[in-house]
């Protein structure tokens, strides 16, 4: 897992599966490898998924507006996570690796993209932007300070803890948009806390994405006429 330059060469490369693994051929392969004409990969399917994601419109869009290389890499990894949602083993493998390398913050950025939250977030703020340059700042702000904007609900929390956390976030920095996100067991926790949170967030409009695999609440601060 890397964000180095060779990633793009790998993406452009064509995969060969079957090979003559005789010692003569291995020596020939090593010669080509040392000339930087080939690389040895494990699973062509993984490379194909990454290739598709690097070429996708979503990836190209974020490439244009995310200048921080580490954050862009995590955005792209988030798109790959989304592609792996039907393969639980690979999905968990990649999540573990993101966590080892980029800790909780990196995993949260990737999950934020995987769940489509970043796309929706931009949909909510884009009408408030006057210049396209602001989009770049907004994306880097929300991803760079992801914990300020998003409450990632853990499976072992209870609804009261969530309500308290929301209250603390709103009291401390009154975010323009607050997102509450949960998967698996956290879905029910969010659903149980939702009504109380709505009461706390009277100055916010609620949008939600509710499904069997995730629950996302988007609270957007209401704009007053004199603002």
């Amino acid at each position: 897992m890397s964000s180095d330059n060779f990633t793009s060469d790998i993406i452009k490369g064509a995969t060969k599966g079957f090979l003559d693994w005789s010692s003569e051929n291995i020596a020939l392969l090593v010669k080509k490898f040392k000339e930087k004409k080939l690389a040895f990969i494990k699973d062509p399917q993984t490379i194909e998924i990454v290739k598709q994601e690097y070429r996708s419109g979503e990836s190209k869009f974020y490439q244009k507006y995310v200048k921080n290389k580490e954050i862009l890499f995590l955005v792209r990894i988030g798109l790959v996570l989304r592609k792996l949602e039907n393969n639980e083993t690979k999905l968990q493998n990649l999540r573990d690796k993101i966590f080892r390398r980029y800790k909780v913050r990196g995993l949260h950025i990737a999950e934020f993209v995987q769940a489509g939250i970043l796309n929706r977030y931009l949909g909510l703020i884009i009408e408030d932007l006057s210049f396209v340059e602001e989009l770049e700042k907004e994306i880097e702000e929300v991803l760079g300070n992801i914990e300020k904007h998003t409450l990632f609900v853990k499976y072992n929390e209870n609804p009261f803890e969530i309500i308290k956390k929301v209250s603390n976030i709103v009291d401390s920095h009154t975010p323009r948009i607050l997102i509450i996100f949960g998967i698996k067991s956290s879905i029910e926790i969010i659903r149980k806390a939702k009504e109380k949170i709505k009461q706390l967030m009277k100055n916010y409009e609620l949008g939600e994405v509710s499904g069997k695999d995730k629950e996302i609440l988007f609270f957007k601060r209401k704009l007053h006429k004199n603002n």
Binding site: F6, G17, L19, I26, L38, A39, I41, R101
Partner: protein
């Protein structure tokens, strides 16, 4: 760049490949010339031979993914 899949390569061939590159294997992990386990520099775990990728640029051996 040409990409060679190691997915279906026999274990002996992977070991031969590593030896040709100056590495080795105990059958499970990739070892360097000193016999120490090669550590994936990005995720800091020993690289298993069945999960390795070998990329050009100072011979970077990494765990898959």
């Amino acid at each position: 760049m040409e990409l060679i899949s190691l997915k279906d390569a026999p274990l002996e061939s992977k070991i031969s490949l590593l030896k040709e590159l100056g590495y080795n294997s105990d059958g499970e992990f990739v070892l360097n010339a000193k016999g120490d386990k090669v550590i994936d520099k990005y995720i800091e775990v020993p690289v298993k031979i069945n999960n390795m990728v070998i990329l050009p640029g100072s011979e970077v051996i990494l765990d898959d993914n």
